[in-house]
Symmetry: C2
Subunit: 197 residues, 2 copies
């Protein structure tokens, strides 16, 4: 390779990002070097800043730059509603929709007999604590519609249903979705959950 060792090392590190392979990492690094004043320098500094400050919220598991994240520390978000998600990406997706005004709880995965993931491996005991300590009135299960996600939802609902209202996201046809392109499971879920117009 003609690029020197330092540039090769950068390409190798970039290729470990999800969505980038060796080829697109090379392209990205070349682009970065061409814009080194405007992009590579600022990106390096921002990465170092985030590397030094990013951490998991001790309360909900969200990622932020303080021990307790912005959402957990905002009094406005203490609505009594607690939305349970599998991971931080799901929390961010919920936030982007801008509809949910309460707080979150990030499990950090799903229960899985196969991978020996029990409640203790997830943030489930902490969830139970929060339901007591934060005057939670409703737990909204926003887990993925996968087998493991739904198993986890059932487990949590079992544990909580005597203590608090437990709901889950509706399943059905996505907005803009065409029936022809939907899987059978979604169609039958949407049919079972049909409602009066």
């Amino acid at each position: 390779m003609s690029s020197t060792r330092d540039i090769d090392a950068l390409i190798d590190l970039m290729a470990r990002l999800p969505g980038l392979g060796p080829r697109s990492a090379r392209r990205a690094v070349l682009h970065l070097i061409r814009k080194r004043a405007l992009l590579l320098g600022p990106l390096a500094r921002q990465m170092q800043l985030v590397a030094d400050t990013a951490r998991e919220c001790l309360n909900c598991g969200n990622i932020g730059t303080a021990d307790v994240c912005d959402i957990c520390s905002s009094a406005k978000r203490a609505t009594g509603e607690l939305c349970v998600v599998e991971d931080v990406a799901d929390l961010w997706a919920m936030e982007r929709s801008g509809v949910f005004k309460g707080r979150y709880h990030v499990l950090g995965g799903t229960l899985s007999a196969l991978d020996a993931v029990g409640p203790e491996e997830l943030r489930i005991p902490k969830l139970m604590d929060r339901v007591e300590s934060e005057a939670v009135t409703e737990v909204i299960l926003a887990l993925n519609a996968t087998v493991d996600g739904q198993t986890t939802a059932h487990y949590i609902a079992d544990q909580l249903e005597s203590r608090v209202r437990v709901t889950s996201l509706a399943q059905g046809v996505p907005i803009g979705g065409e029936l022809d392109y939907l899987d059978d499971g979604t169609i039958s879920a949407a049919l079972r959950a049909r409602k009066e117009v």
Copy 2:
């Protein structure tokens, strides 16, 4: 957004990389934060190092970490063959093939009447100098098979043909290529350049 301002700023910077959009930038940043000790920290440091040291070779235009790149400063590569490419990505592609043992000259683009790119905007005067000063015996034009690339190749060949041997890469069917999937231009080029078996 629940992620704090620093993390958002990092996502915005990452989204400016070629091949990453806002969605994949978010995914990449989340991955980086999860692996902050093993990946985000080292990546930040390596980026800073490259931002501080990367520069264009004064001789050939390749990107390296010294004023004159490894290839230009290696006596082994002084074979008298000079391969002319459009940009650094093409040079890297040639180097990966490992077949060419000479030196390179990166033009930094192609001539373009439409975009008002003349020989002075490219590294063409420097190419003329090098042909004299480096005892070049053959100039190999490895320009892209586009209209602008071929126009540039003709221009350079015109300037040089009285002074040095000028060749260009063969055009034809790619190795592993299926005729059915090739464009008409490639098929007719391959047919015109047919050879005895």
